[in-house]
Symmetry: C2
Subunit: 121 residues, 2 copies
Amino acid sequence: MEIQAINLTDKLALFDEHWSPRIIAQMNDYHFKLAKIQGEFIWHSHPETDEVFIILKGEMRIEFRDYHTELSEGEMCVVPRGIEHKPVAENECQIMLVEPVGTVNTGDAGGERTKTEVIWI
Amino acid sequence: MEIQAINLTDKLALFDEHWSPRIIAQMNDYHFKLAKIQGEFIWHSHPETDEVFIILKGEMRIEFRDYHTELSEGEMCVVPRGIEHKPVAENECQIMLVEPVGTVNTGDAGGERTKTEVIWI
């Protein structure tokens, strides 16, 4: 099977749901996921892994317990394992996440916003 | 230490050398690297790891033994472990690579284009 280019814009056009990441690629035991976010997520951490946010369109911030980090299109950041954080976007923001296969969106917090079945697009 | 946004454009402005990736972030035991490429690289493979290419600006292609894959800004691809490939860019192309810490640019091929010391910027 030939190795294909993955077009991020085309993939983002395939879904509208907020806070529901879709998998677009796998590298070793890591997934690359796209997500559209708007509003506030919940406080959580990932005790077992760092997590990368890459901003593809729009702006967001990641709140930490003592400060927050603003992120705009063309920026990325690494949230270290175990650090409590809450992603927030005033307006819709489109992002790519990189994290190990099986990483759950709500980390150690669980609850109704957990997406247990993350689908490939 | 506060978690910082990493601005890809700002980081890319810090170097001009072609085929010489710079590290901008670490997630677990993976590095995110930026590179500027132009011309032809060498045939090589990475027997132990997949490798991700994300195109930030311009166009490139990855040649495989029987075909090639064209990549434009906003596209990415995963080169599976062990697959021989040769990156080529007619004009300067700016890319982000994601691969395990210690992955060597020339993989199993070695030679004069190997960058043994990859620096953080």
